[in-house]
């Protein structure tokens, strides 16, 4: 499903990603952990080209972008539509209701009929447990509710892969559960997901694979049990000690 080959990203002098290789099979959930500044966000942003990698290759399904050469600008939008992004601070459109936030992509980008888009948006809001909040503006929703709208907005574009960048780290502790539940449901439905998170319980319960990143490289990878109970690398152990 996703194949990343020798991905590099550099901001001016700062090398943030130093050769990432990663494969994610269809329907799998990969959790990415690692210390602050290790490049987790940058990796996700490269996956939907919000950040242009310096070199390397990313393939999602049958679309391949090779960043060693100049990537044609017109290839990017269709590539971007393969992935849905969920942001740490939700980034909902504040001037639109929950329903309008979700309809925006299908109507404006895909040219879907308003009526059909509305039906789908209502269905998605029901799915994330917000069927009674469809006409609320973001400022009228709690953080957890906003993030669930964010997830529904991404799903409305019917992406092949969902990317989550610390989706619960801006939330009050009591609101984390409702978002994680939606994510688990999604995983159970077979959605391919790449999740950056510090929620170790989510990683244990939902991840097929855990990836530990540090200093712009993948230091260690394995199933959750292996990484959390029996890490091989000293850096992984050190990091896990710090957060547990």
């Amino acid at each position: 499903m996703i194949k990343i080959k020798d991905l590099h990203k550099q901001f001016d002098q700062l090398k943030v990603l130093k050769g990432i290789n990663l494969e994610v099979a269809k329907g799998k959930v990969v959790v990415v952990i690692g210390p602050s500044g290790s490049g987790k966000t940058t990796l996700l942003r490269c996956l939907n080209v919000l950040e242009q990698p310096t070199s390397g290759q990313i393939a999602i399904e049958d679309q391949v972008l090779d960043f060693s050469q100049q990537v044609p600008k017109k290839k990017i939008p269709s590539f971007r539509r393969l992935t849905g992004m969920v942001f740490q601070n939700y980034n909902l459109f504040p001037h639109m209701t929950a329903l309008e936030n979700i309809m925006e992509g299908p109507v404006t980008v895909k040219g879907e009929k308003k009526e059909a888009a509305r039906k789908k948006a209502e269905m998605l809001l029901g799915k994330v447990g917000l069927g009674d909040k469809i006409h609320f503006y973001p400022f009228q929703l709690s953080g957890g509710q906003q993030q669930r709208v964010g997830i529904a907005r991404a799903l409305a574009m019917e992406p092949k892969v969902m990317l989550f960048d610390e989706p619960t780290s801006a939330l009050d502790p009591e609101l984390v559960g409702e978002v994680l539940k939606v994510m688990k449901d999604l995983a159970n439905e077979g959605m391919t997901m790449v999740v950056v998170t510090h929620e170790m319980r989510f990683a244990r319960e939902a991840a097929d694979e855990v990836i530990f990143m540090d200093g712009g490289v993948v230091v260690e990878r394995g199933n959750p049990e292996q990484i959390f109970s029996n890490p091989k690398e000293a850096r992984t152990k050190q990091f896990l000690n710090l957060i547990q």
Binding site: F87, N89, N91, P94, G105, T108, A154
Partner: protein, 236 residues
């Protein structure tokens, strides 16, 4: 002395009657001047200026160095020279190189260029005040730059820019009086012309001032309404 002055205006019944008569007769031409010239001049110039301002703001924030420079020079030139001088250049200056433009269109051009420059700074600041995450959210659901701009950024930027744009608009209403200097028979020019025949300068200029004031007052009411409408999506 003061008593004499007051009595000369207010206590002389004949004088009061004359003033009332002139005031009544001049009210209609002044109002006509406002309706036929002042208001259309303001509206047309504002709409054209706003379009120009959006283009200029987009040029300023674009990555294109040439566009940026052109936009910056335009803004600098307009802001750095008096509006009256600009109007004179267009109406009295250009004919010497064979470009002859009627008074009213000359005024439209001058005022539009002016609004375009000032409002572009307002719009640019408003666009830049929208968090980067909003652009990224637009891109992440597959929107293009123009789509994100139109659907996500400008609607939010317009809310931020309503108060300063209203100031520009109200200034424009008052600035249209300068069009009197290039022969547009708008309200203030009519006041001047009428006063020149009967020498009641105070009365006529006060009358014109009052009409400007009423127009601006009504505009600030409209501004309040628009702000309330656009504020519906932010917590108070």
């Amino acid at each position: 002395m003061a008593k004499m002055f007051l009595s000369s205006i207010f206590l002389d019944p004949e004088r009061v009657a004359r003033l009332m008569e002139i005031g009544k007769n001049s009210f209609q031409p002044l109002l006509e001047g406002a309706i036929i010239y002042t208001i259309p001049l303001t509206l047309i110039s504002f709409v054209c200026g706003l379009a120009l301002a959006i283009l200029t703001a987009l040029a300023r924030i674009s990555g294109n160095k040439v566009l940026q420079t052109v936009a910056r020079m335009y803004v600098s030139a307009v802001r750095g020279t008096p509006l009256l001088v600009q109007l004179f250049i267009i109406f009295y200056g250009l004919p010497t190189i064979g470009i002859i433009i009627d008074p009213f269109p000359s005024a439209i051009i001058g005022f539009s260029l002016n609004v375009g420059a000032y409002a572009s700074e307002i719009i640019r600041a408003a666009i830049l005040s929208i968090p980067k995450g909003q652009w990224e959210a637009g891109y992440s659901i597959g929107m293009s730059y123009p789509q994100t701009l139109k659907r996500i950024i400008l609607p939010q930027a317009s809310r931020v820019s309503i108060p300063p744009l209203s100031n520009t608009f109200i200034s424009l209403v008052k600035d249209t009086s300068l069009a009197s200097m290039i022969l547009v028979t708008e309200m203030f020019r009519r006041a001047q012309e009428i006063a020149a025949t009967n020498y009641e300068f105070l009365l006529l200029y006060m009358q014109a001032a009052l009409i400007y004031w009423v127009i601006c007052f009504l505009l600030s009411v409209v501004q309040g309404r628009i702000e309330n409408r656009l504020d519906r999506y932010v917590s108070s």
